[in-house]
Structure formats: C-alpha cells, structure tokens
Amino acid sequence: MTTPTLYTVSSYLILDSKGNRIYTKYFNPPFSNKDSIITKKNNTNGEDEEEYNTGLQTNLKKQITFEKNLFKKTHKTDSDIIIFEDKIIIYKEYADVSLYLVSSDLEVNECLLQLTFDGIKDALELILDNGLDKNNIQEHFDMCCLAIDESIDDGIVLEYDGATIASRVTSPPTKDSAHINIDLSEKGLLSAWGFAKSKLAERLQQGL
C-alpha cells in the first residue's frame, strides 16, 4: 500500500514514427533532491559514475533506451495500455507520432491516468487544428510545450479537461507590436496616442 501522493505521473513523451524524440519531459518533484545530491557527490569522481548512478528521470542515456524499447514494444500494437518496466503506460499512435503518458508506479488508478492522457490529447488536438502530426507539432512546438505544462506540473496532474488546458495556452503573437495598424479615425488616433504613451513609459522604465 503506497501512501497517497499527488505525484502520479513520471513522464510524458511524444515520439516520431521511428521512435525518436519529438517532445519528452521527465518529471522530478523539484525539492526531492535525491538525484542532485548524487550528482554533486559524483562530480568529483568524474562523469562516468554520475551517468551510472542517476536514474531514468535524469539520465539521458537511460531515457533514450527506455524510449526506444518502449517504442519497439508499442509500435503497431494498438493496445492503448501496457505495463512496461514497472510502470503503467497509456499511449496512442497516430500516423507519424505516438503519445505516451507514463505513470509513476503500478498502484496508479488506471481510469484517472486515462483521463489525464485524454485531456492532453484533446488539448493538443484543439490547439493543432490541422491534426496531430509530426510537422504540426514541430511547427507549434511552443504551444505543445505550454499545453503539457498546463496539464502536468512536475508529476502532479494540474488539469484534465482538454478545453480548459487549451484555453490556457496562448498562441504566438502574429505580429510584432511595432507594426501596429494605424487607423486614422478618431478612435484610431486615440489608440495610437495611447500606444505611444505606453511605449514611452516602457522605454523610460527600461532606463533609456
């Protein structure tokens, strides 16, 4: 029986059709400093040992092997959920990307894990309205990162409602604020004046 904890997710992965990384995030509770202590201790002993000692959550080499093996195990199997290396993993494979949500242990509630997974998936689908594929994800990489950040915060599920997650993700500015449309109506002039005023204040604040 594990003690109740909010830390239920250990990583979120987006891999491409060959099992290479597109997006990966391994969650570490920020102040459970076990790994960093080991790292500090070993920095004096050379890097090799560090590599050997740190776990999956921080060790890049182990992560890559984990991802490759996971991909091999799940590619074209259409199973939705598997137990892999003592973790429950929910996944979905699209044409050229696969999404994976990795639980932190075997005790996790599968239904909640599925809800979390679906939430992120829905959010991504809403954001990338051209469909979930590799190109689209890479083109809107910032938004995907934000969406996942809004769903899981270092292992704690923040939100599972896809629309809520998506609504919190800002789209990139389409134009630089310097290129503002100048509208010569009274309202436009007023807004231009307001803009100039705010710009000036900003400059002054920056100490120019």
Partner: protein
Amino acid sequence: MSAYKKKNENDISSSSSGSEVPDKMSIYQDCLKTFNESPISPKKCRLLLAKLLNILTLEGYKKSFTTSEATTLFFSVSKLFQHQNNDSLRQMVYLVIKELSSISEDTLMVTSSIMKDIQSGDNLIKPNAVRTLTRVLDETTAFSAERLFKNCIVSPDSSVCSASLVSSYHVLPIAETTVKRYGTEAMQAIFTPKKVSTYNNNSSSSSSNNNGDEGGSKFYPQSSYMSEYHAFGLTYKLKNNDKIALMKLIQNDFNSLKNQFLKVEWIKVVGELIYKDSSLFSNFEQLLYNGLYQSYEAVKLEIAKLITTLIVDNIAPVNDQLFGSVLEVLKQFLVVPRTSTRFASVRLLNKLAMVAPTKISVCNPELESLINDKNRNISTFAITTLLKTGNSSNIASLISTINKFTHDVSDDFKIIIVDAIRTLSIKFPNEWNVILQFLIDSLKNSDGGIKFKNSVVDCLIDLVQFVPSSKESALENLCDFIEDCEYSEVLVRVLHILGDYGPTASKPSLYVRHIYNRVTLENSIIRSAAVVALSKFVIINGGNNASADPTLAKNIISLLENIKENDVDDEVRDRSAVALECIKENHPDLIKSSKTFDLSVLESKLTQYVTNHEFDSPFDTSSVPQYSEDERRALELKRKQDEINDKNSGDFSSAGKKSKKTDASTKNNGSLGASSSNTTFEQRAKIIHEYTEKLYEASIIPSDGSSKFGKLLNSCGPVPLTEPESEFVISAIKHIFQNYIVLQYNIENTLTDSAVENVQVEVNTNTNKTSNLVFDSSTIIDQLMPGANEQCYAIFEKTSESIKEEEFSNILTFVTKEIDPATQQPFAGDEGFDDEYEFDPLLLTCGDYLQPLFTADFRQDLSKLSFGDSCVYNIKENITLQQAVDKIVLNTNCLPLENTQFIMDESEKHILKLFGKSCLNDDIKIGILIKMIKSSKGIALKAEARSNDQELCSDLVNSLI
C-alpha cells in the same frame, strides 16, 4: 528587419521538416542577441524560446548547456520581463525559466519580477508565475512567498488556486512550517468550488486565429474542480501524522464532492487509515459500499482496488455483500470498450483469484471472452486468472477453452500460458492427464519456435518429476515427439530426461529402442546425448536391484560396443568408450551420480577459492552440501511452490522487479528478524546461507570441517526474538553440528543516542530434565553503534546424539554509553553503566533436526513407516488457518506435499501433509498428516505422525506449535 524575419521562418521550416538537431550554439547566440535588443520583437523571442525548449528536450537538460551558459541564458531570458503586457511572450518566458532553473545558477534574481506578476498580473499569467516561483525559491527564501501563495489559494479562479496549491505541495520538503501557516485556507479550498476563467489568449496583437471571437477563447472550458483535488492532497500531507484530524477531514460528505481525482484520493486516504488501524474498517464500510454505485468509473475502480488489497493482505474481514458488489463492478468493467478500464479490472481479478478463486468464477464468461483481447496484457491476465480459478472439476474444460484460442497467438504469449499450466500441474497433481494431453498437443503441433518447445519440455520435466503417476505416459509421448523434432537442443534435453527416468519405468526396452533410433538417424550432438542416456539404462539395469534386467543391459552394451567401433564422430565414440569402461570397472557414479551439489553454494565457494588464490590445496568439496535425488526434488518443489505463491501475491512483472523484491526483503529480514510467513523458502535459504558464511568469517569454527565440531548438519531460522520496534532487535539462527550446537544471535541496536559495549548474550538451558547440552563458550561484541548490526554466538557441546527439546532463556548484558552528537562517538571517559535486557526464549525443537524430503506417494510411504503417534491441539489464539499452517511448516521444517500448504477459499477445514527426514540419519523419515478445523473458539488440530524412529515421531507430534 524583414530579412531577419525571413531567415527565421526558414529556420522553422528546416527544423520542422528535417530530423536534424538545430544548431545549439547559433541559437544560444541568437538568444543573447535578440533578448537584449530594444525594443524586442515578441514574435521572434517566442520563436527562439520554443527552439530553446526543443534543444533542451532533444539533448537532455544536463547535456545541452553548461552551467555558465545556462546562467547567461537565464539572465538574458529574464530581460524579457521588462516587456510588459504581452501574455503570449510572458507565458513562454515562464516555461523556459522553469526549465532552465534546474541547470542555471543565481535563479533568485528573477524572484521580484515574478512576484510582481503574481500581485498584479492578469489571471492568465498568474498561475504560470506562481508555478515558476517555486522553482527559483530555496530553503532561505521560501518564507517570502507565504502571503502570495495564501492570496492565490483564496482566489476565485481555479487555475490560480491550483497553481498555488501545487506549488505549496512542491515546496513542502523545504518549507513545511511556512505552508502550515496557511493550512486552514488550503483546507477550505477543498470545499470551495472555483470557477474557470476564459481568457483572451491572443496577446496584445489582434486575433487572427480567433475568427471574430471577440476577446474570448475559442474553446469552452468547463470547470473540472481540480483545485479541490490539489487542496485535498496538500491538506493530507500537512495532517499526515494527525490521525484525528484526518478522520475529521474524511467525515465530510463524500457524495457532495465533484472532482473524481479528489474522490479517488479520498478513498486512498481512507485506505491508508484502515491500513494503519484495521478496526476503522467498519466505520468506512458504508461509504465504500455506496461509492461502488456512483457514476465515476475511476472512483468505483479505486474502491475495488482498496477492497482487493484489504482482502489480499488480510487486513480486515470484508463481508460478502461488499465483496459481491466489488465483483459486480469488476465484471461490468470487463466488457467496457475502454481498454484501460478492462485492463484495470482484469488486473484486480487476477489478484483476487489467488485468495478467493471460487468467488471470482462468476466472472469466468467475461474472462473467457477476453482471452483474445487485442491488448496482450489483458489477455495474459485473463488466462492466468482463469487458470487460478481452476479447480479439479473444471480444469479440463478450462484447458480446452484455452486450447481453442491459442492457435493464432505469438510464441511469447504461448510461453506464458504454458507457465500457467505448469503451476496448475503442481497445484493439481491428480489432473495430470488433461494437462499432459495439452502439453503433448502443443509439443507436436508444428507451429512454435524453439523457445516455446523448450518451455513445454520444462513443464513436462516438472510433471515427470513431481507427478509420478504421469511418468510413464509422459515419457512415451516424449519418445513419439523425438521421432520428428527439428530442434537439436530440445531433442538433447528429452534424451536426457529419458535417460534419467526411463530406466526405472516399467518397460525400459521401449525407450532404449527410441533412443537407439536417434543414434542411427541424427547428428553427432544428439548421438552423443543418446549414448549417455543409453549408458544410464545399463547402470540401473545392470545392478543387483529387483527390477534389473540383465539381458537388456547386455543388449545395450553390445549396442554401445557397436557405436564405439563404427561411429564417424570422435565425441560419440569417446563417450561410448568411457561409458563402457565405467560399466566394466563398476563406477556407476561417473555416469549417473547419486548426489548433486548445492549449485549456488558450490559457485560461491569456487569463486572464493579462485579469488583467494589458495591453489596449493585442492578445492574441498566436502563443505558444499550435497543432495540426493529426493532431497533435490524436495527443494525444487518447495521453490516452485513458493514461486507460484510469489507470483500470485504480486503482479506478474519483469524478472528485474522480482529480484529487487527479494533483495529488499532479505535486507529486511537481516535487520529486523524475519516475519517468517512472508518470506519464501528460497529467501530463507539465502539468509541462512549468508549467516552461515558469517559464522565461518568470524572464525567461530574453522571452515575446513575437520574440527571437533563435526559436519554442519542443519541450520534453522532466523527466529525473531523481539518485537521489531524494540530497542534491540534480535533474531537467532540455530546451527546444528555433529557434536555441537551453535546459536547465532543477530543483534541490532536501534537506539539513536547510545552505543553499547561488551555485548553478550547470557544463555541458559532451562529444561527441567537433564539436559544433554553443555555450555562451551560464547562470544562478545566489543561495540555496537546506533543502527549497527552484529552477531554474537553461544556454543554448546552435545553429550549425546539423541534429540532433545531445549529451551534457552536469553539475557543480553551490555554497557550503555551515550553518544556525543559532535563526534558520533561515545563521550571520552564515559564509563557507562551496566544494563541487561531480557528477550524471548529460544526453542530448540526436534523440527530443527529435520530436513524437507520429497515423496511421490505420500500415503504409500507413510504406511511403510513402522511407528505412529498422534496428538491433538487446540489453538485459542485468533489466527487464521493459513497462519497456523505457515507456523507448522516453519516449525517442523518438513516439505508440504500436494499443495496442502495453501488454504483454498477461506474454508473452515484443512488437511496438511508434511514429509521430512532426520538430518542425523538419512534413513529416518517422517510423515505427518494434520487435520485442522477452525471454529469460533479457535483452531482444533489433530496430528498423526509416522516414522521409523519412535522417539522422533512422538517428539515431533508434541512440538508442532
């Protein structure tokens, strides 16, 4: 400017189309340059930040930038804080700062900028700011965030509140006191519904994506009340050690909660409370029962999980009504379209199947339909669960059901099935013919690779070994199989089995014919294996025993002669020559040895021998225990039974996990004194072996075995002699030598502030009768620091060979010295004070003189033993039948046969069959039949023992418990 922008756009397309990693250093330079521009271009900045994130993802945090590079980056990113009123950029800045804070130094410098945003920023940015703030705080600055966090928790906005609660949760390890100060607000947040804001999430520039959707979001978020879940999680952590406060919290109305994450967490806390105090279960029964009829799948599942673990770990008695409802829920889950739910349900059923197989059988139709589920995990769980629900009456139909489904599945999966069948064959030895038929069918079936065939042969070997009645039929079928088997490796194994078991079968000539066929038809590897098998027939049949068939032996010898003359292969001719020579010179042991070494001990001794470079003296095999055929089988059967048990109790999982578990529990046993019923036989054997090594290391007895002690006959234990939480945790192992008895006390000092010195155990025999043990000597532990773990020994000489029960009273004497917290050593000059500590007496019973022994036919062997005795016990303690069985098995050291060490289905009656032999004399055997009935008054036992040694027989029945 426009040219620059163009270049950037090219960058995107190149990075998105190709798999090439964007050039790290050029982006690094770009970042420094662009972020310091004035005015900055938000669009370009956000693009660069995205690329930065991409690099961090692809190259890993530790590898992408050095600390100084990261710090420089961090600093220039923080410049972007000066750019106000652009949420789109700001959100990205926060994300990057969060990521960089783990590799950069001096992260504190952005604290004030972030705090300013939390105070005055809009609701879109606030949560991001709060969550980022946690990453730049440390032990010394965490307190400064108290007011901000508190304000955010009471905010009506769900995201802001969640962000603050989650951040508080993160900082708990470094700032629990700070967080405690707003614990009340956190608790109130559990029951305060918050709303979700809609944002104009397109920054300051006009919206282009949001076609005409003025100011609002294009999505329609619904409140999911997640902040209540986070508030509950935080409150639980803060009240973790306060049972009354938790109870009060849990008393709130469960049904009014809206968030399913919260409800699940709620159930988990209920479970935690029940685990700590099982008497609370009745308080929550109604809550759990009602919860099963709620609409959320996740909640129902969590309750089912909780009840399953309560049943499996035997924490609290679950009434039939509740159990029935759980099964109903799980049964419904088995047919839902959502894979994860089916998966969760079948996983739980698999666990339940081990404790209550008959009750699970109501789900059998659904389970059967899952056998060819597209998810391999589900189908595997379904099959293993089904097989666990098997009992002697439905095995046949189960196997035929499985048979129907297994044709179009992969080999890996078939191996899992065969493994499951193998456990069945050990569990239900009487159903061997159905199982054998299944195995033979799958063996002869043309599909399946070598791994699969090998596992089937493994299973058949088990069947032949442990279910003697199946032997003849299994061997005959194996003979048929080798007529057309395409894998040499498998063929060689089969020949080996035939050689081992064929000679004692009723018609050995049949096997000889099949084996000789191989000699004429197959390659040299198989031919040489066949030669060895043939020679075994000669050894058995050429001897003087009753079943010997001299004509057969003579015939085989002429066959071997023939092979020796005519075979084309050197190895085959050599082997036949060696075999013939051994037969002629009468060295049967060279072909078929009657004893085998304990391989793990042999291995460790050999490694020791090689690493110590003691090549002057030859390796001494006498210190390695040897087993006769029956003993070896007893050990193997015990190991396999434990394996089944082990597999049942946990999830089926990777081998890695299993070994980890073993390690953990070994450690546990070493230090805490095992709670023996939970450890498997193999683990116990390992622990005993480790301690025996220590015995030699401590040079209490010389390891060459030639000393006055005589041979080590048996080691038993460890027996815990104290409560696991007392100031000294002590367990003992009894080593029985030919002439001596050595008691090994394993003492752990659990005090944190004092060391003890001159530690000695005062041991006295308190048998009233004249004891046949004379105290010889004991050892002293010089110093035992806090947390340390050492052994001390008491040695007794035996005055006669015969077995007598002994009770040793134990008093620990020692000198306590306080520890100087500065040096972690006792204060210099502190003389300490003498103290003593009395702990439980240690019993030496005749069970300690016994070793497990396998027998194929318990009833028949029992009738061969001439002396009998019986005894009746009445156990008043409130223990379950299983606990009683575990205790008896442990006390008697005998081998439980026919799977009688497991109680099926909480039944009230049980028959336990045990068999063993004396370690003093291999010919003294003992069998015990124990009938047990559980009633409200306790457990009544009737034990009948038969042995060829009258004294042992009566001693044992009288010391069962």
